[in-house]
Symmetry: C2
Subunit: 355 residues, 2 copies
């Protein structure tokens, strides 16, 4: 006979206290499941559970019933408003479905991303949502593909936010179209020399945005030679560095397209520090429309994405085990022109120009 020291009460304790069997206690505590129990008995059991401060063991439950209600969410950094927005949406639907959300911050490391998916699998999560750009790397793609296939085989769902070049549901932001709209708008405003602050092209998202921008600008008749692309980390510091490089390099650009708002934040700071006025000296556009952008002075033009809706949709796709094939749900990107972009003035001299 084992002696219960003082661990939490178990179902057996509850059953004993209520004078019923384990099976009955379980049934009473899981209404809706399996079968019902006579109401009077049920109340006695609930009372016993309450008295004993019984807290069911989720692990035992998961093991026995094969039922989990946890989901995994992989993101870059929760303090990045882009991911916070998506996370909010994803967590909202998880909450509605009574699922617990486990969050993994990768800080853009493919290894960490894989690691999290593996851990989530070990936890037998119902679904995993992968946000953030995919990585253009065959090793990563293969490993992740295998991991996800295994997860799927085990009955789990998953969805991506942004393209990952892997089979699966995906919420696809209009990166190309949004960036193209930026390009067209800038050309229409008279800009002929353009700069792009881009992240590493190993990120799918970055490639799509830069690609869409460049193609649209070219389509407007501006030669691609007039577009200067600076690759820097996909972060605020990266934006700062990109701005610095453009200014130091004597760029002749009159407009700067930052492939993300967070990069734009860094770039704007650098520009302000150097005395470059926006939009008089240089027009600036970002991407994502994080809340801060509209609060800056001047308010910054950007491409709006409904982050919360994207997160919501992704979680729904991941959770809804629908028999059909994988779905791709577009997330519309809408150009929002604000005061940080202005018609280029013949008198305006290229920012940071040395001559």
């Amino acid at each position: 006979m084992r002696i219960r020291r003082d661990g939490p009460a178990t179902l057996a304790d509850v059953a004993r206290a209520a004078g019923v069997s384990l099976a009955t206690a379980s049934r009473a505590l899981n209404p809706g499941g399996q079968r019902a129990v006579r109401v009077e008995l049920r109340e006695r059991i609930l009372r016993a559970a309450d008295d004993l401060r019984y807290v069911p063991n989720a692990h035992a439950r998961a093991l026995a019933g094969g039922t989990t209600t946890t989901v995994g969410l992989v993101l870059h950094d929760i303090t990045d408003p882009y991911f916070a927005g998506i996370a909010r949406g994803a967590m909202a639907v998880a909450g509605d479905r009574g699922a617990l959300v486990m969050v993994g911050s990768t800080f853009r490391s493919p290894e960490r991303e894989l690691e999290f998916v593996r851990t989530f699998r070990a936890q037998r999560v119902d679904a995993v949502v992968l946000t953030g750009s995919g990585f253009e790397d065959d090793g990563y793609r293969e490993a992740m593909g295998e991991e996800l296939a295994g997860h799927r085989r085990a009955g789990g769902g998953y969805a991506f936010v942004s393209e990952h070049d892997l089979p699966g549901h995906v919420v696809l932001p209009g990166n190309g179209e949004g960036a193209a709209a930026v390009g067209r708008a800038l050309v229409e405003l008279g800009h002929r020399r353009l700069a792009v602050a881009g992240g590493p092209s190993s990120l799918t998202t970055v490639r799509h945005r830069i690609g869409g921008f460049v193609r649209a600008v070219e389509a407007c008749g501006v030669p691609s030679a007039a577009i200067e692309v600076v690759d820097r980390p996909f972060s605020e510091d990266g934006g700062r560095a990109a701005a610095r490089e453009l200014l130091d390099g004597g760029s002749g650009a009159t407009a700067l397209f930052c492939v993300s708002d967070v990069m734009a934040l860094g770039a704007l700071e650098e520009l302000a520090a150097r005395g470059v006025t926006v939009p008089d000296d240089l027009s600036v556009v970002g991407f994502n429309d994080i809340p801060t952008m509209r609060r800056l002075s001047p308010p910054v033009s950007t491409v709006r994405l409904d982050l919360e809706a994207m997160g919501r949709t992704a979680m729904e796709l991941a959770l809804d085990r629908d028999a059909g094939g994988f779905r791709t749900v577009p997330a519309p990107a809408e150009l929002v022109l604000r005061a940080s972009t202005a018609r280029v003035d013949a008198a305006a001299r290229p920012a940071g120009g040395r001559g």
Copy 2:
């Protein structure tokens, strides 16, 4: 004999494939634990596990070994930069310790907060970190106290960020001192009529901040009658509403202290919409120093809290099962004066004054 359809491989499968017993397989896959296995055998087992794409079942493991490596984090809303900052810190230390983080968003509902703690308990988390203000409500306090006591009895740790009037480790931001510093600074700048945009006083944090502010101002010789406190929800909209009320009410205040930056954001928006210039017409101060504050124009004065460090400390306190009593770790609050606060000018007329 049960037939394995195609569920994920189990330890038994691995053991069979490697031609060893369950015990040996378990030991081989858990180095560091219990006992070692002959290296050659071990490798054979690892190979088999790899071939079978074995993913250990965390639930089974938790049940058998009583070992979990999950922690719970309760916060208000992940898109609120205050909580995002804390979450980042907390997740960092959890990550370092190899723990998975489950996040619960309460949206300031005490019921939801209790619900999450209960769910975390069911998951047998190692630790839970409760952020956000406590609620001044006896029912809540009692229920939460009982929940946490049970968690503790079961071997779990926990910590609060901000006071909760409950026994436990706590990371205590200098709410009173920070607010007092704001009050003194404003008086020193010549302000004699002050307004406070406060949240509901059922939030402990709000009470401490307003209390510290009022006491400091009084200590400077300004009568409390000169302080106008407007209670509105602890949110951006609340800040907006507070500003509206002040302006509509013909407040004679020359300075506005918002008990949180997020409220300040709303207030500033309303002020701008009404044509009230900051700081010329009205000085504004926030609290928390979320990143956006320093980017606005004018940059907004506030009280800096090292959010990430607070999150880190809280998670460490919650995870470190130290025998001693509960610890209270202060999180220093540092007044950061920026351009949104100015010396009051004799010529300046009270903002929104009707007369």
